[in-house]
């Protein structure tokens, strides 16, 4: 079994501010990230697919298929956007990198079969670096658990 990881880049702005908290409380919880006009990051996204070798190609995952999936369902929607204002999924959800990782993982999982219709490869991990020092990782098999918890 192999894990094949591909790295992508997108630039976006966000503001961390919960509608359930007052201004002062938001400032306390999120610090500078709650500044009213928002701020931006060069996000680095890593997507890991896992599977055995396809003996016909010598590959466990075709990076071009992964690129097509991520381009279409993540980068096209997130790159050069204001996450809070341009994305409906963050209208009521604070676009922390944890929530961003969950959203990206859900999108990739939902559309995975359009590029990878067989048993393999499967989506294994979504990892997002907000800055080179802040890195967030979620396993695709944990996503359903999050759904259940919030349901």
């Amino acid at each position: 079994m192999f894990s094949v990881t591909r790295r992508y880049h997108f630039a976006a702005s966000h503001r961390l501010c919960s509608p359930h908290l007052g201004d002062e409380e938001n400032r306390r919880v999120y610090g500078k990230c709650a500044n009213p006009y928002g701020h931006g990051h060069n996000y680095v996204l890593e997507v890991t697919a896992r599977g055995p070798l396809d003996p016909a190609t010598g590959r466990a995952a075709d990076p071009r298929r992964l690129d097509a999936l991520v381009d279409r369902h993540v980068l096209a929607a997130f790159d050069y956007r204001n996450l809070n204002l341009d994305l409906a999924c963050f209208a009521d959800t604070v676009p922390t990198s944890e929530n961003l990782a969950v959203e990206i993982c859900r999108r990739l999982k939902r559309h995975w079969a359009s590029e990878f219709p067989g048993e393999w490869p499967t989506l294994e991990i979504v990892r997002i670096a907000e800055t080179p020092r802040n890195i967030f990782e979620i396993r695709a098999d944990e996503i359903d658990q999050i759904k259940r918890e919030s349901a």
Partner: protein, 141 residues
């Protein structure tokens, strides 16, 4: 505890299955199927698992690991055209996955013979594409 050592090698390759027509290879591998090949600066991370020796405080002598990596991987791979110069890539398409598998096969018995446990290897074909392999079976579908 896991300890990781990194080495680099530069090599050229072409991803092309000789049993398939050109058009099919182009469809499977894209630009990587270009007949005259192309090259990468590969980066290999090799991780060993072990317990530090109470006497030396080390899992193993890193100099020894460096020598094994140089002899088993860097010397045969560096500045070579993999398809033409490094078996089994005369028969096996040198995708990152197959290269990782071959590196595992080269390293694992050498390390095991010295009592070291190979934990995993990570092979970067480019900074934006890498493969992790821990010797799991099945290797193929």
């Amino acid at each position: 505890m896991v300890i990781t050592r990194k080495v680099e090698f530069s090599a050229s390759h072409v991803c092309r299955n000789p049993a398939l027509p050109d058009e099919e290879n182009r469809k499977l591998y894209g630009a990587a199927a270009n007949p005259h090949g192309h090259g990468h600066n590969y980066v290999l991370e090799v991780s060993l698992e072990g317990v530090p020796d109470p006497l030396t405080g080390m899992i193993l002598d890193l100099k020894e690991l460096k020598e094994i990596l140089n002899r088993e991987v860097v010397e045969p791979y560096d500045h070579r055209f993999l398809n033409y110069e490094v078996p089994p890539f005369d028969r096996v398409v040198p995708t990152a996955e197959n290269i990782a598998c071959d590196i595992w096969r080269r390293l694992e018995p050498r390390l095991a013979a010295r009592g070291h446990r190979l934990h995993s290897i990570r092979l970067y074909e480019t900074p934006d594409l890498y493969v992790d392999y821990a010797g799991e079976q099945p290797c193929s579908r």
